[in-house]
Symmetry: C2
DNA sequence: CGTTGTGAAATGATTCACAGCT
DNA sequence: AGCTGTGAATCATTTCACAACG
């Protein structure tokens, strides 16, 4: 039950990027990687990389760098991608279907364990190998299948209601695609807001700025 | 060619949220809104709201607040959503199709002006009312139709190549869905990275933290 | 050598607190 | 009264710089 005094949010974001880089270019056995190499690949300073890794207890070897596969293993553990996560997708519209078809989730240890929709015409159909269930089965199936994470891919006006039910059912994290601020006590939320991203993009373009991740 | 000394990135993100809140709940004629009202809706302090708005030259009225529709109008201008943006979607796979079906873009002034795909089996089909074009027409169509923004919805290994061609064709902004760091000189980029978002979510869950927008 | 780990300094963002306007 | 605009203070994050290590 030990818990660190909370990792800075920007650091968490970068940890994922380090892991991705390690998996893409430093996955050979016994390979080492320096903070400078990682930093250059991501456009940040080497000091930043070392601070981030030190923060989560990952330690390197002076003169050598970090052992790539040890580091990757440690990062997976911290990020939680070494475990399997069971997720429920709520909303089997265009977005929900695209998400389930997005094979990449499986790689990262996310198993789609249930799919729900409010539309009776959609319920019962099969999407990417999953039978779509009626919303009323949400609570029972989440409990029964030990689902820990919900993906909210409903229209904005249904999102809060769906969220309440997910939270009540014991889900511990929600990935929210609806363009509203969800209230979910005791539950982690990450928002993915396409409209917001596009607005940020055109704002940057208008101002003649450059890169900023969202 | 005057350009402000660059708006802080977190401020830009919030400006979109202010606008959304104004459109949702303060759109009646002559309505006013205080920094406190906006702040509460977004979970931030009133001082923060005032600082943000002051930063982009939006001024309120002591004792009254801000005139809601004036403010909304000003924000649209700053964000660039008062203009129409022509966008090209590259990649007509599941993700690309979901994006085009996502009606909301039209509302915000984004017109899908061309759709491209590398797969000959997909080229020529119609998706959400748009004929899918072969990749080789990219340069000519972008120029011909005055396309300013590209949406990269290709697999990771094609993304950089597509980006190079978009940039060469004169596109000024790119919304990137591929899970890699794109290089696009002189062009704004916003990344939307689903894997990253999910990893952040489960990391938060593992650590027992709460909200953080992505 | 090259590279880590880390205090100290610099930069950036948020909150506080209050003068001044309506 | 209620509310804005903003300098000053606080808090967070990044960068610098260098001692210590293999």
């Amino acid at each position: 039950m030990s818990s660190k005094s909370s990792i800075p949010a920007p650091t968490v974001k970068r940890l994922s990027l380090y892991l991705r880089e390690l998996e893409a270019r430093f996955s050979e056995d016994g390979q080492t990687v320096s903070s400078q190499q990682l930093g250059r690949a991501l456009g940040i300073t080497d000091a930043q990389v070392r601070k981030d890794l030190a923060f989560v207890g990952q330690t390197g070897h002076p003169g050598i760098g970090y052992k790539a596969n040890e580091l990757a293993h440690g990062l997976r553990q911290i990020l939680g991608t070494d475990r399997a996560w069971r997720v429920a997708v709520v909303g089997a519209g265009k977005l929900g279907r695209a998400l389930m078809g997005y094979g990449r989730f499986g790689d990262k240890g996310f198993d789609v364990a249930a799919v729900f929709d409010a539309d009776p015409k959609v319920v019962g159909t099969t999407v990417a190998g999953h039978r779509v269930r009626p919303l009323q089965d949400l609570e029972s199936l989440v409990a029964e299948r030990g689902i820990q994470v919900g993906i909210v891919a409903t229209p904005a006006d249904a999102a809060q209601q769906v969220t309440d039910r997910l939270v009540r059912s014991g889900v511990r994290g929600i990935l929210n695609f609806a363009p509203i601020r969800l209230n979910a006590d005791g539950c982690s939320i990450v928002d993915v807001d396409l409209t917001l991203s596009l607005e940020q993009l055109v704002c940057q373009v208008s101002l003649g700025l450059n890169r900023d991740s969202a």
